[in-house]
């Protein structure tokens, strides 16, 4: 019998067609026949250890588990026969032997699979009167709370850790009564997907720590939304109680995030309730900030912007919604200015980018590629769900290669070419040469064995992919890198893809939130504008060169910032602060990396006087007497934005010139200013639980042992980084994963805002 031939089976008298080899439980699920289960999960391997899914099959003397039985032609299955029910009831009784009567204090209460099943299959009297087992709780990190007394040993968490998170972090020790789940040695779970353990655990053994004891499932109302942190646009459910976001859960969408979300998407909501939320409009009067009402503030903004006119520069967050970006660019264009940009973390605008870069293929298609070359990116931390797809590809047999200035801790086998920022172009050129491309830098490249092997893998693959990510787009020679990547792709027959940095990087381009002939994000700060409009950005954290940004804003005549938070740097930079609605407080649309438009509604009312940014911008348009600001809902705005985007196509064709001047040369130490996973945007930076995780690193000079010895530094020393005359002193950490000739000084962290660009020459001095 071949794998895909169809068989006919009968379940509870209902005739079903199924693929031969499919598991019975799946077939029943699809037909809507309910079989109880604990250990089975359709994204994990089958372990058949809970025995809850026992059913009766004709001619089989004993009940058998539906999750581990494949269908066979003519099979007759009874899920509700006396034998099946007795088996299920018996299993239930055994499971409850050691399960504490914890429901009143258990956070899973009300949404617990064990509760539901025991209601349906359990008995109302317990015959077990002996002592129950006690298992001490373990600390496994700031995100997931444990209570292993409640564990029913389904091992879903163990399989999740090994199969999905790719870290053998959890396991079971002991047998029978003594079986225990835990991390083998006392340690925290540092996966970027660890929050999914909360969903995967059928009981209250693994629950959310930030949500601990905060609410009950029945008190929550659910609304659908889209995660605002990366180019994946994971679908989420927002759970609300009393106009407050209580937690975030994944919403299954096979094309985007399957049934997982990253911890960043799950726990960032906490940042909404940070103390520095801006809740009323504020204006600066004689150097002091005073609260005011909307009318005064907006009038002041309108007057200010009118005066700035064509001298206005708009810097917009790539995490803003399509509606906000569309209205913002429209507003600034109506002032006669074309200085609009959202690429605040880019420094090379020499035209290396394609017209409308995107992922190049569907997110769900990534797992089917045969070879991937990832340049200047760490999807595992930057876009965790994308990282998971890449891992799936690797497990499916794809060869994955990385070209980065940092060596990453990956959860699958991949070849990592470590290359100092200044040498990345040379290494990429060597790969290009090895795949048979020709051109300016390529011809001079020196091909080594590792380049040859990457080239071979790309060439031999049936479908290959070259991906550029966050570090590449922040690189001072981004144009050259993307041009080289395009050559590699062309010569090897691979697809090229650009992983957008933020939730709406693709959407921002579709609604033209970038200059046509005006100043770009870089030149707007280099040749300061008269006035600025900032949308959702923090001067000290969100720019490629925070020092330059802060200086430019300080010398501007008028700066208005639409922001959800007040911070010292915004207060120093702006003249008017307008409180805008944060995540979950506004309706909007994001276009994710693969070009999918995903709209969502607001889940809660904005805090205090804050208003959705699209409404603020619309009223600003009216006050400035601009045309076309008469939308009544965000849908109206979306419709117009969509119409304006009609002529624009996703387009990854690169036309840059390979012979451009290289801005980074290899002399001295080069800074690698990557943005760590929990520093990407204002919301995440204010989420307390995420900031306690191991991934939430603080500013330090990370340098490999060789370079450290050269600079006379040792682990734990303090040293001063000097970049273009800007100083910052921080501790030294020895990290062999940093390429020679470079030093990793992360951007967007407290302590790094006094430095210059994300990449650039630095010197170190022992403090």
């Amino acid at each position: 019998m071949t794998e895909d031939s169809m068989v006919t089976i009968e379940v509870d008298g209902q005739e079903l067609k199924a693929k031969a080899g499919a598991m019975l439980i799946d077939v029943a699920d699809q037909a809507g026949i309910d079989i109880p289960r604990f250990c089975y999960h359709n994204k994990l391997s089958v372990s058949a250890n809970c025995r809850m899914c026992l059913i009766e099959v004709e001619k089989v003397p004993k009940p058998i588990p539906a999750c581990a039985t494949s269908v066979m032609d003519g099979m007759k299955v009874y899920t509700k026969s006396p034998m099946a029910l007795a088996a299920q009831k018996g299993t239930m009784e055994f499971l409850l032997i050691n399960h504490p009567l914890d429901c009143p204090v258990c956070d899973q209460g009300g949404e617990c699979e064990l509760q539901d099943q025991s209601l349906a299959y359990g008995s109302d009297v317990a015959r077990f009167v002996e002592k129950k087992r006690l298992v001490p709780k373990k600390y496994i990190g700031p995100l997931v709370e444990t209570n292993f007394n409640r564990c029913i040993h389904c091992t879903r968490c163990v399989r999740f850790s090994a199969e999905i998170a790719g870290m053998r972090e959890m396991g079971s020790t002991g047998r029978g009564e003594y079986m225990k789940i835990g991390t083998y040695v006392e340690r925290t779970i540092d996966s970027e997907l660890s929050g999914n353990l909360i969903d995967i655990c059928p009981v209250g053994s693994l629950t959310s720590k930030p949500y601990r004891y905060q609410a009950r499932a029945w008190e929550l109302t659910q609304s659908d939304s889209v995660a605002p942190h990366d180019a994946v646009g994971s679908n989420i459910h927002i759970h609300v109680r009393n106009n407050r976001v209580m937690r975030v859960h994944p919403k299954a969408n096979e094309a985007v995030n399957e049934c997982w979300i990253s911890d960043r998407d799950r726990f960032s909501y906490e940042g909404l309730y940070s103390e520095d939320r801006l809740t009323s409009p504020m204006i600066k009067e004689n150097g002091r900030w005073v609260e005011t009402d909307w009318e005064t503030a907006l009038q002041q903004v309108a007057d200010g912007l009118k005066e700035m006119g064509a001298g206005t520069g708009a810097l917009l967050s790539p995490s803003a919604t399509v509606e906000e970006l569309y209205l913002a660019q429209k507003l600034v264009r109506s002032l006669g200015s074309d200085n609009i940009d959202f690429r605040v973390r880019q420094s090379d605008f020499r035209g290396g980018e394609p017209a409308l870069p995107w992922l190049g293929l569907g997110i769900d298609e990534i797992e089917a590629v045969d070879a991937v070359l990832v340049i200047g990116a760490n999807p595992r931390k930057d876009q965790p769900i994308l990282g998971h797809r890449l891992r799936k590809a690797a497990l499916n047999g794809a060869s994955v290669c990385y070209l980065n200035p940092l060596e990453y801790d990956l959860n699958y086998h991949a070849e990592q070419l470590l290359s100092a920022p200044a040498n990345m172009a040379d290494d990429l050129a060597a790969v290009a040469k090895a795949v048979g491309a020709t051109g300016a830098i390529i011809d001079d490249a020196e091909v080594k064995a590792q380049h040859q092997s990457v080239a071979e893998q790309l060439k031999q693959a049936g479908s290959a992919l070259v991906l550029l990510g966050n570090l590449a787009s922040a690189h001072p020679d981004y144009s050259i890198l993307s041009a080289l990547a395009a050559e590699v792709a062309k010569a090897s027959g691979a697809k090229i893809g650009f992983i957008g940095e933020a939730a709406n990087s693709t959407g921002a381009r579709l609604v033209a939130a970038m200059p046509t002939d005006g100043l770009n994000a870089q030149s707007m700060l280099e040749q300061p504008c008269k006035g600025y409009l900032l949308l959702g950005l923090e001067p000290d954290r969100d720019f490629w060169n925070p020092t330059q940004a802060q200086t430019a804003f300080k010398q501007a005549e008028f700066v208005v910032a639409l922001t959800a938070y007040r911070s010292a740097s915004l207060e120093a930079a702006a003249d008017v602060l307008l409180p805008m609605a944060g995540f979950a407080e506004t309706s909007g649309t994001y276009v994710n990396g693969d070009g999918t438009w995903q709209s969502f509604a607001g889940a809660v009312q904005p805090m205090g006087e804050a208003r959705p940014a699209w409404k603020i911008l619309r009223v600003m348009g009216n006050l400035l007497d601009a045309d076309g600001f008469d939308q009544n809902s965000s849908q109206d705005v979306l419709e117009q934005a969509r119409n304006s985007a009609d002529g624009r196509q996703l387009d990854n064709s690169v036309t840059a010139d390979l012979g451009q001047e290289r801005r980074l040369n290899g002399s001295g130490l080069t800074r690698i200013g990557d943005v760590p996973i929990y520093a990407t945007d204002a919301l995440v930076r204010r989420a307390p639980a995420l900031q306690k995780t191991a991934d939430a690193i603080s500013a330090a000079i990370r340098i490999n042992p060789g370079e450290a010895a050269k600079a006379g530094l040792a682990d734990g020393d303090r040293a001063t980084v000097i970049q273009e005359g800007n100083l910052a002193t921080m501790p030294v950490e020895i990290d062999p994963g940093v390429a020679g000739g470079s030093v990793r000084v992360c951007a967007a962290l407290a302590g790094s805002e006094t430095l210059g660009g994300q990449f650039g020459e630095v010197t170190l001095e022992k403090a």
């Binding site: 429901c103 009143p104 204090v105 209460g109 601990r212 004891y213 905060q214 009950r216 008190e219």
Partner: protein, 163 residues
């Protein structure tokens, strides 16, 4: 004929005398009125009066913040907020309000409580002078529980067999 009979009846106040006779007969019988508040009518141990929150023998509040009482209350009179307690991280209420204007004294909350934390006492005479006093706060409820500790406990054991 009928008219005539009615005329005579009302002329001689016949109905009134009938009534007076009934009233008069009570004048000599044994009295069953009581002198409230000095005297009180007997009460069942299951009487559903003013609420109280109990503490256990160690002085620890019994309520574990499961919110079942809040969920079951048909009048939506109970408002609870919970969180881990600072010192030991145990599940506790940070707010427990009962709005006595909403409450219909159905006792469902008492039935729902898995730990006998919320109880209804025999207290049925109280009044409010200011708006807002009708909302019983957690501390007040706990205080009532402490004041009437013995009574509550004996009532609980008396009704245990019916629950």
């Amino acid at each position: 004929m009928k008219v005539l009979r009615n005329y005579i009846k009302s002329l001689f106040l016949l109905e009134m005398f009938k009534g007076m006779r009934l009233t008069g007969s009570y004048l000599w019988r044994k009295k069953f009125t009581i002198r409230y508040p000095e005297e009180r009518a007997p009460m069942s141990p299951r009487f559903r009066g003013l609420h109280a929150l109990r503490r256990d023998e160690n002085g620890e509040e019994c309520c574990v913040g499961c919110k079942l009482c809040e969920a079951t209350c048909p009048a939506m009179a109970i408002t609870i907020e919970t969180g881990p307690r600072e010192d030991d991280g145990s599940r506790r209420t940070t707010r427990y309000d009962i709005d006595l204007f909403k409450c219909i004294f159905c006792g469902y909350c008492v039935e729902a409580c898995p730990v006998d934390a919320i109880v209804e006492t025999r207290i049925c005479d109280y009044h409010f002078e200011e708006r807002g006093e009708n909302i019983m706060l957690k501390d007040e409820l706990l205080a009532i529980g402490e004041e009437n500790r013995d009574r509550i406990n004996s009532d609980l054991s008396a009704q245990a067999k019916y629950r």
